[in-house]
Symmetry: C2
Subunit: 192 residues, 2 copies
């Protein structure tokens, strides 16, 4: 888990440029020197840090969304998520905002679960995962122009079964749920 | 979980082109029509399907690797993984090959755990996750020119603790371990 710059696995970055840009992300190309001295380059997708929210209703159901995912050409069932924005006071505020904007639900409380890199071989994307408790549909949705989102409440166990059976292929949803279930405090009981 | 093409969330793809290419991946730009009729475009990273292997030794330790991850500029501790190649007879063969190439370990047996999309908002990447049992360092490593990899055995519980504490930020490693631990058959006992 070392990140010491003198780790003998480390690459040296000698230059960096934005090689491609689009509304969703940039592609960065770094000139690098490998540990054996080889000079080459390496491209990766530069993405904004994001929040992922696992929202529970007071009854312990999970608020899930369905939305089109163009990269995989299908409707994805999963958790609300989105990029952290400059106006967000902190990550918790970003999670609260994304939850309300995408689902219309407002949380009693949010807490950080963990922070993960979903695919650090190709992108610097970081997912800050939160659990939101006591969520009720009392807020105002505010979708981006290209977002069409269906919202529903699903039993916790049904979502877990979908992950188990491979019916929920969305990695961030599987990770948030499995992390939550594996490490939840004993005192919380079964529902959340 | 529907993927019916007439789902009212579906986007229509009217054209598609490779907008950028590099040795690791392509960027695809699709022209799309949103459900409300808006015409726009959407870029995503086109990645090869990959296998991720959770390898256990006969003693129940996990074979982990450390390698440099240029996208996040640090050494990553995680599981062997790599793209499926044309010569792989099937996904299990790909998992067996990647395990041996990256770690030098050979598995007694492999079985599929699940298939997940790590970040389907930005990429069509798919991770086919396998568990490998009875792994011993009896094979031949064969690294790509830009791979420098340290291999070590770590106690299962230590890796789980690293995931819990956020010391293992590698999403595919966290997912494979948490999925395995959550849904392993009762008969397997604690070690694997």
């Amino acid at each position: 888990m070392t990140d010491a710059p003198d780790d003998d696995l480390a690459w040296e970055t000698t230059a960096s440029e934005i090689a491609y840009t689009c509304p969703g992300f940039d592609i960065v190309r770094d000139d690098v020197v490998l540990p054996d001295g080889t000079e080459t380059d390496y491209d990766y997708l530069d993405d904004d840090p994001a929040v992922v929210v696992l929202p529970f209703t007071p009854d312990g159901d999970v608020v899930v969304i369905e939305e089109w995912r163009q990269a995989v050409k299908r409707v994805n069932r999963g958790l609300p998520a989105g990029s952290v924005e400059p106006d967000d006071a902190d990550l918790t505020a970003a999670a609260r905002r994304e939850l309300e904007e995408e689902t219309g639900y407002v949380a009693d409380s949010l807490r950080s679960l963990t922070t993960l890199e979903p695919a650090n071989g190709i992108t610097n994307a970081v997912h800050h995962v939160f659990v939101a408790e006591g969520c009720t549909p009392t807020g105002e949705r505010d979708l981006d122009f290209n977002e069409s989102i269906r919202v529903e409440e699903t039993p916790h166990e049904a979502l877990r079964d979908a992950v188990r059976e491979g019916d929920c292929r969305d990695g961030r949803t599987a990770l948030a749920l499995l992390y939550h279930d594996a490490f939840r405090p004993e005192s919380e009981g079964d529902h959340a």
